[in-house]
């Protein structure tokens, strides 16, 4: 307990703690919709697509600025979503295949550009590779302020357009039928995922950031059958993972925050799979045992009943 308190007394640590918690919260909320739309891989695609965006931003400006990198990553992410949308609309390819192509294509380009930068005359290139696996410790006050704005924006859009996002996740055909601009809403949802991914890259890195979108959402689904509650739970699970990740990595020396955050989320997922009511493995096992016992008892009673009847005869 002392350790937590002393850790939280450090202002630098406070920023990182707050940043990771907010990141988990917003990714958890927005991740629900991409999971329910069967686009769990979308976050992964967008994260990988961000790498060439970051590299190009650096090559164009020669400056290692987080803000510029985020703009580059955002543009690349949007290009990727438009690309996926274009491929699925205009070819027979399904979305998973389109995502696979776009993801690996963009990531390949990113690695090539990264190598190019490291062997070029860019001087100030060290640190770009940090985006691969993230470095939460590099977060400063201004980053956290930006993250707070992003988090607030994501959550308010999801709250305002909750019924639209719900219906395009459940039945897009019906949504189109009642006149909702489904294509626009789908692009908006994608854009929000891009924003969440870009916000998360600094802390968690290109490779792992998708986990923050998928894992809390899938875990939350185990605890509830209501979308509203699922979104809230998913946000909380994400936030708890971020908080736990920061705390554990600060208490144990030399553990990276991002991967530990993802591991914390994975652990919460494991708990959900095991102990979720109704859907959890334990609950299912118990239910089956109960049903079996009742069945046995009923057949026994039935048998006794017929025996008695026979005796009465």
């Amino acid at each position: 307990m002392d350790k937590i308190l002393s850790m939280l007394a450090d202002p630098n640590m406070q920023w990182i703690f707050l940043g990771c918690t907010l990141l988990g919260l917003s990714s958890g909320v927005i991740g629900c919709f991409s999971y329910l739309r069967k686009q769990s891989l979308m976050g992964d695609t967008l994260a990988h697509a961000a790498l060439p965006g970051i590299c190009i931003a650096f090559m164009l400006t020669g400056v290692k600025s987080i803000g510029l990198f985020l703009i580059g990553a955002g543009i690349a992410g949007l290009a990727a979503t438009l690309g996926i949308g274009y491929i699925t609309r205009n070819s027979k390819l399904k979305q998973d295949a389109a995502m696979g192509i776009v993801l690996s294509g963009f990531f390949g380009l990113g690695i090539v550009l990264l190598t190019f930068i490291q062997h070029g005359n860019y001087g100030n290139q060290s640190g770009l590779d940090k985006f691969m696996f993230g470095q939460a410790a590099s977060m400063i006050a201004s980053d956290v302020v930006a993250m707070t704005i992003v988090c607030g924006l994501l959550i308010s859009v999801c709250a305002l357009l909750f019924k639209q996002f719900k219906i395009i996740s459940f039945d897009p055909g019906f949504a189109r039928g009642i006149g909702y601009p489904v294509a626009f809403l789908e692009q908006l949802l994608m854009f929000l995922i891009v924003v969440a991914v870009v916000a998360g890259i600094q802390a968690v890195g290109v490779v792992l950031v998708a986990a923050l979108l998928i894992t809390p959402a899938v875990s939350a689904r185990y605890w509830t059958d209501r979308l509203g509650l699922m979104v809230i739970l998913s946000g909380l699970i994400g936030a708890a993972s971020g908080a736990a990740g920061t705390w554990i990595s600060a208490s144990v020396s030399n553990l990276p925050t991002g991967p530990v955050t993802v591991l914390a989320a994975t652990m919460l997922f494991g708990i959900s799979v095991l102990f979720g009511p109704k859907r959890g493995l334990v609950a299912k096992r118990l239910m089956r045992r109960k049903a079996k016992r009742r069945f046995n008892r009923d057949t026994e009673l039935h048998a006794q009943g017929s025996v008695k009847k026979e005796a009465a005869l």
Binding site: L36, K38, L160, L161, F162, K163, Q164, K166, I167, S169, F170, D171, G173, F174, R176, G177, I178, G179, Y180, R221, T224, D225, R226, L227, M230
Partner: protein
């Protein structure tokens, strides 16, 4: 060939709930619908029949603007469907959605009210009351809180119907509502169709079971890429038309339909 109905001509005083002129749809090179034109009469139950791949669902989706057409015009009460969305109710095929979605029956029915709500307004007590009423109309009031994955196929279909009812439309499109449902649901759907008809609503139903066409529908539309025949069931549901639509691949023709077909159903 122009198979507009004589029925529509008799009803010149009212605007047809649905008028389709020269509608064509192609997914790839081959057209799925070619030059389909017809007008439906207000307050009728219309069955759309035809073999698999005849374009029945496509006709419905193109009329609703869910898929692009390559030609033709769709008018709902005299205006483009985009202006008349609130007048249209739609029951998609049950398989078109994931029933494991985290929501309950009442919530799905409430979606039928979304078109009447502003963008940022949540459904309130009034909408909930309408949704509950619609659920009870399809005999599902007791299942309002039930998670939708725990409903049987027939019950899911009835939830979809209740959602369409909640839309409070004048013209309904139903894509195979009878497909794979139990007897109780079939009966509930029929009752509902009759009630909609009594309220003066027009219902267009994609249907598969030829044996029940004469019982259920006032008019029948036979489709096989092109419109084969359309008109009052008694005159249109004939062996000749069925043969043309199904290409004589139908044992049903010989067994159930002695020509001329029975004009009414004696029950």
């Amino acid at each position: 060939m122009n198979v507009t109905t004589t029925a529509a001509a008799q009803h010149t005083n009212t605007v047809a709930p649905l008028a389709i002129r020269g509608l064509s749809v192609a997914y790839q090179k081959k057209p799925v619908l070619r030059n389909v034109s017809f007008e439906v009469k207000e307050g009728e139950l219309i069955g759309v029949i035809g073999p698999n791949g005849a374009g029945k669902s496509t006709l419905m989706k193109a009329a609703l603007g869910l898929i692009p057409s390559i030609g033709g015009e769709v008018l709902v009460y005299g205006k483009s469907y985009k202006q008349q969305r609130k007048l249209i109710g739609y029951v998609p095929q049950r398989e078109s959605v994931d029933w494991d979605f985290p929501t309950n029956a009442l919530d799905v029915v409430l979606m039928g009210r979304y078109g009447h709500l502003g963008w940022f307004r949540r459904p309130g007590a009034k909408e909930k009351a309408i949704a509950v009423e619609c659920l009870s109309k399809v005999g599902m009031a007791d299942y309002a809180d039930r998670q939708i994955s725990q409903l049987s196929g027939g019950q899911q279909q009835r939830v979809f119907l209740a959602r369409a009812l909640a839309q409070d439309a004048k013209l309904y499109f139903m894509d195979e509502p009878f497909a794979g449902v139990d007897a109780a649901t079939e009966k509930a759907i029929i009752t509902l169709l009759q009630e909609l008809k009594l309220q003066g609503k027009t219902v267009i139903v994609v249907h598969h079971d030829l044996a029940t066409v004469q019982d259920y529908f006032d008019s029948v539309l036979l489709l096989n890429v092109e419109l084969q025949a359309y008109g009052p069931t008694a005159q249109t549901f004939t062996q000749e038309h069925l043969q043309r639509t199904y290409g004589g691949r139908l044992a049903f023709l010989d067994r159930n339909l002695q020509s001329p077909p029975p004009s009414g159903k004696g029950e």
